[in-house]
Amino acid sequence: MSSYIPVIGLEIHSELLTKSKVFCTCSAEFGGDKNSRCCPVCSGMPGTLPIINQTAVEYAVKAGYALGCSINKFSVFDRKNYFYPDLPKAYQISQLNLPLCINGLVPIEYEEDGVKKSKNIRINRIHLEEDAGKLIHDDLNGVSLADYNRCGIPLIEIVTEPDIGSAEEARCFVEKIALLLQYVGVSDCKMEQGSIRCDVNISLMKPTDTEFGTRAEIKNLNSLKSIYRTIEFEIKRQSRLLDRGERVVQETRRYDDNKGETRTMRSKEDAHDYKYFPDPDILQVNFTDEDLARIKGSLPEMPYQRLERYISAGIQEKDAKIIVNSKRLSDLFDDTLKVYNNPKSVANFVIGELMRRINLGEIDLEKLNFTAEEFAKVIEMADTEKVSKGDAKEIFREMSEKGGSPEEIAKARGMLIVTDTGKVLEAIDEVIAANEKAVNQYVSGDVKVFGFLMGQCSKALRGSATPKVIKEELEKKLKSLVG
């Protein structure tokens, strides 16, 4: 197989988190009974008209800023005409020539063959459009049913330049986009709910070629895994064709998740002519400088800003990156710091214990059984030696499994360290009485046995006193014996 350079561009569709749909007032929430979230407008009744949701427009602009785009001050909505039963108006309101955002740049970091690499992916455009409904095929009764709940949910389509060179780059890029959209607060990017979907355009070229090869488009990929596997498969498929001197056909393909391969959906000849034209029902969007300044000013802290903040708080860059790369984790981290402002210690617990349990699948960040306050408390208790480090982990395990306040768990399970000097002295006396030989060794100058005696005391006290107190009292006692 000759070596070819893959040339990959992505189109990412992401649902926006607006409360209502983009052209009517129906709820945009996920789910609901079939056809319970639609109205005459989004079900395409005769005579109805779309009214643009300004929040959706702002969210798209925010997404643009998050992805380093320029915002078009003047933007137009167009109709994309095609027939499909999940599209009640038989046209999708979208944007063709004047999208809301253009010319973005998204840096990615990835690893290839064990080498850390970074790259900038250019964004061609981001436009706002409406989602279509969903068809449910009932093979048993031989019918197809349409659910219009999803009709009119606002979507942004992010189109990249063909800057992506491998499956790994694509995977990292989509992850980065999802992260940026989550941070900017416009999309939750839940792949399993279809709130982010991806089309892959891919062609191959020889290193000596000056023009791109013929591309195939693979539609509607809804997981990072399927994006990765699609690209890997297409590189192999197209390479094989080219090796044999055959041509890649320009076509739209579909990915079969079960077989891990792509198949022809329709060829270029069957491609739709969408007959785009400006939608006369929707006024052009005109932003003033003030509008854009206001939206830009409302952007929340972005991942790179958090990373800087964490690093300057003394957290190691490696750990800070892990925290920042999950918005949920980073939010939990920040909420924890609000209660217990000890960044290094919290970071250690997050990286050491929380991440360990997440990776084991024991904790789901989407469904935590504890609050940030409780999380802060357990770390603080360990730091202030109210419980031992080991017990803190045990308390955290119980909190994360069943919930409950860390103090109460510690109390109920006898893990609270009580510094009762009388009790400590009592234990020391007992140990000294029982270990005459070792005590004599110490008195005669062999201080190495201190560790042994210390261990005996700790054992006797079973964690009810801190090592510091035990050490202090034991030293005092032994020194008095030396006289």
Partner: protein, 483 residues
């Protein structure tokens, strides 16, 4: 005296003074409809129950002393305006059994004024045509001569007003569909400025040109109705937020010093001599009243019909795509897949003229043809607007014939669409330029057929258009049709 021949103002006075009840007034019309409708064929549906119900509600208002100018006035509604619970067919097999689940904004506003609804009037199918002969249900006849067409597309509304089968009616105008039938039927019809009246609930033909307006016995009645239906509406993004005027404020206006433009191209070849003579003598009358008549030119008029048919058909092809037989409307019995079903449903549901426009529109929007057709039409739109702007820099009103001829025979022109389209020459520029215009009768030809003239105004200046029409009407004696 027959109450059915009275104006809104006269009937309002009778209702208020309890000379007649709303129910009695409605009933007079229902009796006349029973007698005359078979020869006029203006209603697709007469709604006696709704009439009784709305008359009762109106009477309560009158009895409570809360009457408004339209309270208890019996109106007819063009059958492309959605009426909650009452069939809205657009005179098409496609929507033969369609009952809208909502009211058009215009209906909401009229209902708030307690109008009495008599029924839904016939029209050209989906408002495409100028004869009402493409109606799938009622091919309306001209009350002045039932062997002639009433014009169209609001032919049912105009004929019903003309034949005293309602006090006034609501129509819609995309390229002359209110004004031309008003002219043919010897009544007064107003197309408001685009964006003056909400289009929500008007089954779309060409969204950038469609506008709802009144057809009545006189200009003042048109003003009274416009007062009720004009204004901002949340549901239509293209409706203006400009404050609404009192559109009867200029009734009885002094024409002295009013500048009226006569663009030469509107009086050139292709306009019948009878028509030309009548309109020019009306101009003379205005001059006698003290108005200033100014000659001017509109060079792009010769391209206006082409531009209009490209724009309106392009938009229509998209607007009518939603009729696929899936959600509502005609569904074919043909079995097969989705494509088979929509092809059969649309082939059976649409008439020839609608199919012709859909094909024309699709052609104009096809990639490869877009620039040559749709693109050029949009450039012409700009040109026509500019030419009007120039004219209105020097004038207050433009006076033109409403149609090149009087009403023609039932079977004339139907086999020559190009010729029929050319007959829209006098009206289409008004829609293209978004202007308000009124048509009122200015004479009768040798056969006693009415001749209409149009007064075109500046954007949002309906009050002057209505006032000037009223000034002429006060000097003119209408001849009622004898049915």
């Amino acid at each position: 005296m027959d109450v059915t021949s009275l104006t809104i103002k006269e009937q309002h006075k009778m209702l208020d003074s309890k000379e007649i009840s709303a129910a009695e007034l409605a009933n007079s019309y229902l009796v006349r409809i029973a007698e005359k409708e078979p020869s006029v064929k203006s209603y697709i549906a007469v709604t006696p129950e709704a009439a009784a119900k709305t008359a009762e509600a109106a009477q309560k208002k009158i009895d409570a002393g809360e009457s408004t100018p339209l309270c208890g006035i019996p109106l007819a509604i063009k059958d492309n305006i959605c009426t909650d619970g009452i069939k809205t067919t657009c005179a098409s097999r496609m929507l033969e059994n369609f009952i809208p689940p909502y009211n058009a904004t215009v209906m909401e506003k009229l209902n708030a004024e307690n109008i009495v609804i008599l029924g839904k009037t016939s029209m050209d199918e989906f408002a495409m045509g100028g004869s009402t002969q493409t109606s799938a249900f009622k091919k309306t006849r001209n009350p002045y001569n039932t062997e002639r067409v009433p014009g169209g597309s609001s032919g049912g509304s105009a004929a019903a007003v003309s034949a005293n089968l309602c006090t006034a009616a609501i129509g819609s105008d995309t390229g002359g569909s209110i004004r031309q039938p008003s002219s043919f039927c010897g009544v007064t019809g107003l197309k408001p400025t685009y964006g003056r009246v909400s289009r929500y609930g008007l089954v779309a033909f060409a969204s950038s040109l469609d506008q709802i307006g009144p057809i009545a016995k006189c200009a003042e009645d048109c003003g009274t109705i416009l007062n009720a239906i004009a204004g901002y509406d949340y549901h239509d993004g293209t409706v203006s937020k400009l404050p609404v005027d009192d559109y009867t404020a200029k009734i009885g206006m002094d024409m002295k010093g009013v500048k009226i433009a006569l663009p030469a191209e509107f009086y050139a070849q292709g306009i019948d001599d009878d028509v030309k003579t009548a309109v020019l003598s009306a101009a003379q009358k205005y001059k006698d009243m003290g108005a200033e008549i100014i000659d001017c030119s509109m060079p792009s008029l010769k391209y206006a019909v082409a531009a209009y048919y490209l724009i309106s058909s392009a938009e229509a092809s998209s607007n009518l795509s939603r009729y696929d037989g899936i959600k509502y409307g005609h569904r074919s019995d043909v079995s097969g897949n989705y494509n088979d079903l929509i092809i059969a449903s649309r082939s059976e549901g649409f008439g020839d003229e609608v199919k012709r426009r859909i094909l024309l529109g699709n052609y104009a929007l096809c990639s490869g043809y877009y620039d040559a057709y749709y693109g050029k039409a949009m450039a012409l739109k700009q040109k026509i607007r500019e030419e009007y702007t120039q004219i209105f820099e020097k004038c207050d009103l433009v006076l033109t014939p409403t149609a090149p001829t009087v009403a023609y025979g039932i079977n004339e022109n139907i086999d020559d669409p190009a010729k029929m389209y050319q007959a829209d020459i006098c009206t289409v520029t008004v829609n293209i330029a978004s202007l308000p215009a009124i048509s009122t009768t200015c004479g009768y030809n040798g056969d006693g057929m009415p001749i209409g003239m149009s007064l075109i105004g500046k954007m949002w200046d309906e009050a002057t258009v209505i006032g000037a029409a009223d000034a002429f009407e006060k000097t003119f004696t209408r001849t009622e049709p004898k049915i």
